[in-house]
Symmetry: C2
Subunit: 446 residues, 2 copies
């Protein structure tokens, strides 16, 4: 399919290109376009015209969008940029270098330019950065018949007309009416009579993660965004939330695995190495601490070398249990399932889970060790050390993310480093420390 597309572009034959764009969903057309060079995409847009190319172009990956813009003649570029939805346009402009940005802004109308400059000033993770200003709105006193006419006029330029916002003369948000409500109402009923007055909205500086929680809580198709004076400034739609949910899940998984959130499966090898090594070095520091703990007991180990082969079990199982508690708590925090007052209950429960899992797994391991080495004291020490370390795992697994959240940091950030440090060092300390104290018994009953 790409081959035919490339051919048609090279032959400059418009008809097959128009068929291509009309037959495919824009998202699918964009996937094909993404396999072309920026020059070819630019030629494609020139051939079929900016308005036909628009929807597919908005689905094209960012990098290719940027490079394609550089290849377009001035007039086509101007049309395309003017047609783009304000949020996509602002995202694109934000990514451009200073020079391209100036050149592009110069092509736009003053109002469009101001709109972009305003949109790109919102902080990266705020509602403002994700919203579009293409929302449909009405005034409360229009009859629904007239309202539908107004929507027909607004529709082509709006992200959605299924939720329509009712604003007063100073654009303050006073109500919401769905398109369904409008077509169900009597034609001469004023909008004010059928609208819902208690509109749930978010502030433009609200964290997008919080917006996501609210939209999924209410199952909203769109969420209105207001400024500090409660004036409507934009909307966030369900498809933005699809993207945010994927981004957030990726972020949490990456932070738990000590990965930089900039890494992707397509990141180049040198770049991946650059992004991962700093995290590995952080891990190395905690490993050095664990190593130091072991070295303190080297005298004990040299007298009873079995300890060296059993100590990784104590540390390893603790690490696993710590990751379990950590993951449950991080996920619950991300999904908003944990209330602030519930923190101490969660902490106690994770410690309790550690205690009982430790008693069970420790006992099983003690049994295995007894079969292996026939040393009661060794088994007893293993049991105690594993139980202690799994309690520590539960404690740190819950405490670290809760503390990070209290400090207004991401609960997943670096948390696994802390937890592993606790379970490695704690595991070695408990196991080797007890062995050191009870060394005479250990050696005596051999």
């Amino acid at each position: 399919m790409v081959e035919k597309l490339r051919e048609a572009i090279l032959e400059r034959s418009r008809q097959p290109l128009l068929e291509f764009i009309q037959e495919l969903h824009p998202a699918d057309a964009a996937e094909q376009l993404a396999q072309l060079t920026p020059e070819h995409v630019a030629a494609f847009i020139e051939l079929i015209g900016p308005s036909e190319a628009l929807f597919a172009f908005e689905f094209v990956p960012f990098e290719l969008q940027k490079e394609t813009l550089g290849q377009l003649p001035r007039s086509i570029l101007q049309q395309l940029i003017s047609l783009m939805s304000p949020d996509d346009r602002a995202d694109l402009v934000e990514e451009l270098d200073e020079e391209s940005r100036e050149r592009l802004l110069a092509l736009l109308l003053k109002a469009e330019r101001q709109n972009i400059l305003k949109l790109i000033t919102y902080p990266e993770d705020s509602a403002g950065a994700y919203m579009t200003t293409d929302y449909a709105f009405l005034h409360p006193d229009v009859p629904t018949r007239e309202a539908l006419n107004q929507l027909r006029l607004q529709a082509p330029r709006k992200e959605t007309i299924y939720y329509v916002y009712v604003v007063d003369h100073s654009r303050r948000l006073t109500g919401i009416v769905s398109l369904e409500d409008l077509i169900m109402a009597k034609p001469d009923q004023p909008v004010a009579e059928i609208m819902h007055a208690n509109v749930i909205s978010v502030r433009v500086d609200e964290d997008i993660e919080q917006v996501t929680k609210e939209m999924t809580h209410y199952d909203f198709l769109a969420m209105p965004v207001v400024d500090p004076d409660l004036r409507l400034v934009g909307i966030i739609t369900y498809d933005d939330i699809f993207d945010v949910m994927n981004e957030e899940a990726t972020e949490d998984m990456y932070l738990l695995a000590n990965l930089d959130t900039d890494e992707k499966i397509t990141t180049s090898l040198p770049q991946s190495v650059k992004l991962r090594v700093p995290w590995l070095l952080v891990n190395l520091c905690t490993a050095l601490l664990a190593s130091y703990t072991v070295s303190v007991f080297s005298e004990t180990i040299s007298r009873f070398v079995v300890l060296a082969s059993l100590m990784p079990i104590v540390a390893g199982l603790g690490g696993n249990a710590g990751t379990q508690s950590l993951t449950v708590v991080v996920r619950a925090l991300a999904l908003g399932e944990m209330k602030f007052k519930g923190n101490s209950r969660v902490l106690l429960k994770q410690i309790g889970v550690g205690l009982f899992s430790g008693l069970i797994c420790g006992l099983i391991m003690a049994g295995i060790a007894f079969l292996w080495y026939g040393n009661v004291w060794l088994s007893l020490i293993l049991w105690m050390a594993m139980t202690a370390n799994l309690i520590l795992a539960g404690l740190f697994g819950a405490m670290v993310p809760i503390t990070l959240r209290r400090l207004k940091l991401d609960p997943a950030l670096g948390s696994s480093v802390f937890v592993t440090m606790a379970t490695d060092t704690g595991g070695f300390l408990a196991f080797l420390g007890l062995s050191h104290l009870l060394l005479d018994h250990l050696l005596g009953s051999l």
Copy 2:
């Protein structure tokens, strides 16, 4: 607020309850109801009537829904169940015990009963299990004016009327038209003229994960679900996808952390212990393998006990690097970012990242060890062993999820167990094995 609610229920005063339900969004009302006993929720429904209570009741947690049903008088129960949307109703019936299910089904009309029985037969993760049968539809030959009238009649019973499906006389899906298209069209234009004919749909037995990928790819508000004869049987809406996306992210994070997907932050302590211990025991088996590897070299360790304190560093860093590669690959597979043919490239890249990170981190660690112990051979062995183990980490981190996917299993399932096993055992084997081979050098240069 809950207190006032409880009071009004006990006093059986209808007015404040009606105000409560009309003022709050159903999702918020449900949050308040969730704090009451099933008896009180049942009394609430009786007082305000099933049709007023319906929307909030559909947001109430499953367990409470089930228990409330048992408290309702027959006639109210019948009304409430008939009003519920078919997918919510089917989900609820599926959870009931045999006896309650029979009693409830007996209250329904034959058509409703058959609908439920059909919905609950779809496999748990299929499109059929998530869809609703409350979709709006039209025939292709109606003029849009008439189409809007038909929609007005259908609307109150439909999940959404923003996407309307066009079906032929045997209900085969032939087109889709949005409510926006309909209100923009000329009143006497037939639907067939304005509809989009190339409808993207999913099969009723399609995996919901795949459906999610397609809906987020196309930014659809709803996805039509068809049977093997291409007849429309239901739709999946964007809010279902919100839930699925959260569930899937949780599942992947849990599987990577060796957690049972049934565990929640609210799971009781004994239940958590029961769910976690089996995974910890699996981990124990891999730890035993690592421990055995160490025990093979106990003679070497007892002659040069420094090895015992350095070996956890080699294994630990490998585990961390393995988790990094594993997480990147699992996430890319989940988001559909990896094409089948790209597998070997991904594998090679992760091995390459392991090689270079290993060379860098290993060299740094070799330097630290030299400052610590002043033994060139020890530093050299550390460097080699860490590099080898990080290569192994990249190899297993990529290979395990790719292999699981090829076997049609979840790429995250148990994958971290395999990777940890490889990096623990491999790390000890590389470090202690090299030390064993070069022991004379190690001891000689002390």
